[in-house]
């Protein structure tokens, strides 16, 4: 394996500090690993503008790669294209469900039209516990920037939903 390939493996084991069910690779925020010869560069794309985990993520990336003896390494931020939940891997979505968080549905083009009153079509969110589609939103915002609160009307369990953006 090349040094960059080994770094990708390492990054598959660094967990997101706020959703520790997911690795940074699952989350889709590692955009590139570039071997500059002496130095390794890891390119990250932030999830939300104000995500307080951004700095921690950067630190844990550097620490993990150094610990594996793949350094020296630096992390750079790439803002465009903006991160989308569509970049969360299938493996990541499965892990989220097992962790009790409903994974995001695909980002719908109608999300670009925020103001539409009267029977806005909401995508059905499946309960990660029992699979029922009979669920309701309790709160548009949740414990972290990326989630909303839901409740299953069938099994009555509350759960979090990873908002599609």
């Amino acid at each position: 394996m090349t040094r960059a390939e080994r770094a990708w493996v390492v990054l598959g084991e660094v967990l997101d500090p706020e959703v520790p069910a997911l690795s940074l690779r699952d989350l889709g925020i590692v955009r590139d690993v570039i071997d500059h010869g002496r130095e390794l560069e890891v390119v990250l794309t932030p999830t939300y503008s104000g995500c307080p985990a951004t700095e921690v993520i950067e630190q844990s990336v550097l620490a993990a790669i150094e610990a594996e003896g793949l350094g020296p390494v630096r992390a750079t931020l790439r803002r465009a294209p903006a991160w989308t939940t569509d970049w969360i891997s299938e493996e990541g979505k499965r892990k989220l469900r097992e962790y009790g968080i409903a994974p995001p549905g695909p980002v719908m083009p109608e999300a670009a039209v925020p103001i539409r009153f009267r029977r806005r079509e909401e995508a059905k969110v499946a309960c990660p516990h029992c699979g029922s589609l009979h669920t309701e939103r309790l709160s548009a915002f949740g414990s972290t920037a990326c989630k909303a609160m839901y409740r299953c009307v069938d099994c009555l369990e509350p759960f979090e939903y990873f908002k599609p953006i």
Binding site: P46, Y48, S49, G50, C51, P52, R79, A80, P81, A82, W83, A111, A112, P114, I115, F117, L138, S139, A140, F141, G142, S143, A145, M149, K163, I165
Partner: protein, 258 residues
Amino acid sequence: MQATSIHISQEPRVQYLLRIGDTALILAQRLSEWTGHAPVIEEDIALSNIALDLVGQARAVLTHAGTVEGAGHDEDQLAFLREERDYRNVTLVELPRSDFAVTVLRNTMMATFLRLLWERLGSSSDAELAAIAGKAIKEARYHQRHSADWMVRLGRGTAESKQRLARALDLLWPYAAELFASDAVDDAAAQAGLGPRWGDLKDDWLADMTAILGESALPVPPFVPFLSTGKHGVHSEHMGFILAEMQHLQRAYPGGVW
């Protein structure tokens, strides 16, 4: 590390960026006052999260403004070491948080405006600003939708909630005019392809606000001659108090970081 005030370039490009960054920053500061005080926990979380998104947007834009200015000012220096007259936020965002109706209406007015602004900035000739906008637009859409939902709930809720929202409208609506009062800074930005003249967003803003107010069973008030001047650094009497609180740590412990 210095605790003395810094002064900022009057270059129109820098000024245009400061208007965006400062507007997001001061609105975030006002919203964060609700943390622990909102009427229900869901809204406590919502207002705190919206504040967090705005702080993130402000950080990115202020960092970029510092880079464009080229005088070595970072985001913290820009946020915490300027004098009141050097802040370029619109006056609307510095008004006291007041009651929940005022907060909901201001969030709706500002999210509607910022959504339109970020949409246009997505095609800015400034690649960094366009990249920041690409992220921020997704957040602004969610903020607008959430705030507008609350407008309908308050406007069509109880006699008390409707009356409070109507009072908020009387209070805040006159401050909307400033958003759309374009000047030489706007002209320069439009000419350079940096971003739209803010005045060009007025029709779309009014269309959205008319739809939201209509659903909320409230009339669209007329615009009045009053024009606030926060964008030019001439702020209301409330601004000094915000800055005293915001700047206290950096002034007392220069260069302090978390």
